[in-house]
């Protein structure tokens, strides 16, 4: 091969951005491996137990940014006990010891303690960006440490975390000299906020582009903040309660008019909906709107707001929008690419949207490529129509609130509908199924879903064949999560080598037995096969009884790090 100086290769690799591509580049030859490794600055670790932090630090000596994901996806829905694992502390500690020049830490579903936040804030002088999604284990004291000691902090983004709130002093911990903030999102905090400190912080942050407030920030403060930060691109309104005749409201209208750059709007956690018209003026500029935490906005006020949003590309909404409201979206938001419709009252088990809303959207929004749709019912005919109208889906997640509901009109399983989706959408990477489904749907998935990377199955299928079709057919499958479906050992053990090509497999309330899991673990030492044994459901007695003991929750994943040492008592690694 021609000789290129290392620097040239490195420069070329700079243009290779995605993790997948960089991984491929590193496989070409030893030289490329070496150069790619020391030049890679952003590292993505999809499963924090797949590899140890020391190894990561050693291989990627130029590491500046790391993304880590911890718990299995179903942990979001309370299927994983709280102490299962996913601790970030060992990573921060190892990086601190190895003197990694960490600048960015992005975590999802991990346990983050105040100690780890404190260690983080003190160990990395160039630290700039902290993004925590669906994490837990920390309090506002940890945030105070980050605010106080990360002198170069640009981004503090907290999304849907479970944070113990010790009230609002953490905001005042940003030193007066700190002026570098670009993005601040504390919408998920539930406690009071030091409002004057917030205002002062905004006032001295000229680069602030994204600000998402919590419920504790009232209207008058919002108005003053907007006056100070008209350059905002992304705004999350906290509390929006006020008297429409008040002076404050009028001042707000003036302030909003100056925010010509806002492209993304969210929040409205507490809202007086008839005063939303103040925001109509910025709606035509919006590309992203998230009202999924605003149950107070519905019916006419919601429709009125949406009618102004012609440029919307991303919409997250509650199902109180109704099918009629979705028709309005379909006729207004022609550029819509991503839609998420959440149930406004998950406990009652009634959703306010049906298949009609979805069909309407598919007719009006030709660019739609990502959908998450919680609905009351669905039909095959609707899904077939949607597939025809929108063949560009990359992510398709449908959740019928009654998990085994058949076609609402024909009472048939929804196999044909989902079959149409996978057949039409050649680029489909992520799929979540629901409704009454037989093995047939998995036959279709195995046949057509060639690009599928993540599949979520619940209450579906008749026999092992279902899972076997998927394992055989979906060559690019990386994550498979199954609950309450009749797949057993025959499916689990059909192709054990496949699991090393995948990130992880989750099976809960299925038919796999302890014997099956043990057999799998024995044949595949490169996998951690974990059994989550809550409530003493199982006895590890060994012997022939294993095959009669059904495993309630199994999570397996490929790993280079061997059995993890921080597993709690109820997690057995086979």
């Amino acid at each position: 091969m021609n000789y290129f100086p290392d620097e040239v290769l490195e420069h070329i690799f700079d243009f290779v951005g995605s993790h997948k591509d960089r991984n491929s580049v590193s496989q070409v030859c030893k030289l490329w491996y070496r150069i790619e490794s020391y030049s890679r600055q952003k590292v993505f670790v999809g499963n924090c137990y797949a590899i140890g932090p020391e190894r990561v630090a050693e291989r990627f000596s130029g590491l500046k940014s790391i993304t880590l994901k911890g718990k299995p996806h179903f942990a979001d829905f309370n299927l994983v006990p709280p102490d299962w694992g996913g601790f970030v502390y060992p990573w921060i500690e190892a990086f601190a010891r190895s003197r990694v020049g960490l600048e960015e830490l992005r975590l999802k579903r991990m346990v983050v303690s105040d100690e780890s936040l404190e260690l983080l804030s003190r160990s990395f002088p160039n630290f700039k960006s902290l993004v925590l999604v669906s994490c837990e284990g920390f309090t506002t004291d940890g945030l105070a440490a980050v605010a106080a000691y990360c002198r170069q902090l640009k981004e503090l983004d907290l999304q849907e975390n479970d944070v113990e709130d010790h009230r609002g002093h953490w905001l005042s911990c940003f030193p007066e000299s700190s002026t570098s903030l670009v993005s601040l999102n504390f919408a998920c905090l539930k406690g009071d906020i030091n409002l004057p400190a917030l205002e002062r912080l905004v006032a001295r942050s000229p680069n602030l582009k994204s600000l998402r407030l919590s419920r504790a920030v009232p209207l008058d403060v919002l108005q003053r903040i907007l006056i100070r930060a008209p350059q905002l691109l992304d705004l999350g309104v906290g509390s929006y309660l006020h008297d429409p005749d008040s002076e404050n409201y009028n001042k707000l209208v003036t302030a909003i008019q100056k925010c010509k750059s806002v492209r993304s709007l969210s929040g409205f956690l507490d809202v007086a909906p008839h005063c939303l018209s103040a925001f109509h003026i910025i709606c035509p500029n919006l590309t992203s709107l998230n009202l999924s935490y605003a149950p107070g906005i519905y019916d006419n006020e919601l429709i009125k707001l949406l009618r102004h949003c012609h440029k919307l590309q991303r919409l997250w909404i509650l199902d109180c929008i109704g099918d009629k409201g979705l028709e309005v979206v379909a006729s207004t938001c022609k550029d819509l690419e991503e839609l998420r419709v959440f149930p406004s009252d998950p406990y009652v088990g009634q959703a306010a949207v049906t298949e009609e809303g979805l069909v309407a959207i598919s007719r009006g929004c030709q660019k739609l490529n990502s959908i998450l749709y919680f609905c009351q019912q669905m039909t095959n005919a609707a899904l077939i129509t949607v597939a025809k109208n929108c063949p560009n889906f990359v992510r398709f997640r449908l959740c019928i609130l009654d998990p085994t509901k058949p076609d609402a009109v024909t009472q048939q399983p929804l196999d044909e509908g989902f079959g149409a989706i996978v057949q039409a959408c050649k680029d489909l990477k992520r799929l979540s199924l629901s409704g009454l489904l037989t093995d047939q749907v998995f036959l279709y998935i195995g046949m057509y879903a060639e690009q599928l990377e993540m599949l979520s199955i619940a209450f579906a299928g008749d026999s092992d064949k279902g899972m076997q079709y998927v394992l055989k057919g979906c060559k690019k499958l990386r994550k498979l999560e199954i609950r309450d479906s009749p797949f057993g050992n025959a499916a689990l053990l059909m192709d054990v080598a496949k699991y090393e090509t995948m990130r992880s497999l989750w099976m809960s309330s299925c038919e796999v037995t302890l014997g099956g899991c043990k057999a799998l673990a024995k044949r595949m030492p490169g996998l951690n096969v974990e059994i989550i044994n809550e409530n003493d459901q199982m006895e590890f007695v060994g012997g022939c009884d294993d095959d009669r003991q059904k495993v309630e929750k199994m999570y397996l994943y490929r790993t280079l790090a061997g059995q993890r040492r921080d597993a709690p008592e109820f997690v057995w690694t086979l």
Partner: protein
């Protein structure tokens, strides 16, 4: 790695038992050692997530929906302590229902192969056959069709379904849609003056905290006619936290109507009701006329009487004088 004692949020009985158990650290775990160490000890721990067990006689169906968190009581249970506050409020009945995994004996999704006490596992009556029939779901719907205000109807929900992040579930539960909720009646359409300055408003939300309770509530003082109504409402709201404490006092105290009844009830259960006034001082509820009270009240606090030393003597006097 420590034993997951958080599971014992219920309280004393389980906690004592862990003293008998040798704590198995992950280092000790290996396939060869499992058989001996675990089979002996896991039974002894009786760490249970979820309901104390359907065998338990206290679990009568009439109140199957009243599951409480927090203080030790025979009726309390919890699913996941950290994410365990996914509690739905239904109607104005004040009954608390645990949704994910809440099913007790009524849980239609309980799997035969699992310990009924392990009511928190997601279950489906599967034996390798078809997925659960629509009947559990229809039953669930019937319960709901009876009206979302039908408090005691248990919610027989499957754990982890619908698949919504617990953060979202918890947030929506504590701030329900105005259409469905009685508690937030009228609130979302009106200015909220709970503490904020701009209040020429039609409602008056103030926070109510109770010592020892894991979260606060908000009440609209304008919806109550007087101290009696307020005390009834607060009693409903916080009953599950005091139920272990009241014993015979709480129920027996319901003998008449007076402005200090609130103090009586809560005093019977070792609590007093206090409020923070405009000047930031903590005052005993019941001293001033109702109208004056709601004008000056900024927040309420149900305080342990042991902490209310300065206020408590007046409570005694007031009780005696008005009874």
């Amino acid at each position: 790695m420590s034993v997951p004692l958080e599971h014992d949020y219920i309280g004393d009985s389980s906690m004592e038992k862990t003293g008998d158990v040798s704590i198995i650290t992950p280092q000790q775990k290996s396939t060869t050692k499992f058989a001996s160490s675990l089979s002996m000890n896991l039974k002894a721990t009786e760490l249970r997530l979820g309901l104390p067990g359907s065998e338990s006689p206290e679990r009568d169906d009439g109140s199957s929906a009243e599951l409480c968190i927090g203080l030790p009581s025979s009726k309390s249970s919890v699913s996941r302590p950290k994410r365990g506050f996914s509690v739905a409020i239904h109607g104005g009945s004040g009954n608390w229902v645990f949704s994910p995994g809440a099913g007790g004996p009524d849980n239609n999704f309980s799997s035969p192969r699992n310990n009924p006490a392990a009511a928190n596992s997601e279950q489906a009556p599967k034996d390798g056959g078809l997925p659960p029939q629509s009947s559990p779901a229809t039953e669930k719907k019937k319960a709901q069709a009876a009206g979302s205000g039908a408090g005691p109807a248990s919610k027989a929900q499957v754990v982890g379904w619908p698949p919504i992040r617990s953060f979202r579930k918890n947030t929506m539960a504590s701030h329900p849609t105005p259409k469905n909720s009685d508690v937030v009646e009228g609130g979302d359409h009106n200015p909220n003056s709970g503490g904020s300055a701009s209040s020429t408003s039609a409602c008056l939300y103030v926070k109510v905290s109770m010592d020892g309770a894991p979260y606060l509530r908000k009440v609209d003082l304008k919806t109550y006619g007087g101290y009696k109504d307020l005390s009834l409402a607060l009693e409903n709201m916080f009953s599950c936290f005091t139920i272990g404490q009241c014993g015979s006092h709480g129920v027996a105290g319901r003998d008449g109507v007076s402005e200090s009844r609130l103090v009586d009830i809560l005093h019977g259960s070792e609590y007093v009701l206090t409020y923070e006034d405009k000047d930031g001082d903590w005052m005993l509820v019941g001293d001033v006329p109702w109208k004056m009270f709601i004008d000056s009240c900024r927040r309420l606090r149900i305080m342990k009487s042991s902490e209310a030393i300065g206020l408590a003597p007046r409570a005694f006097e007031k009780c005696k004088s008005s009874n």
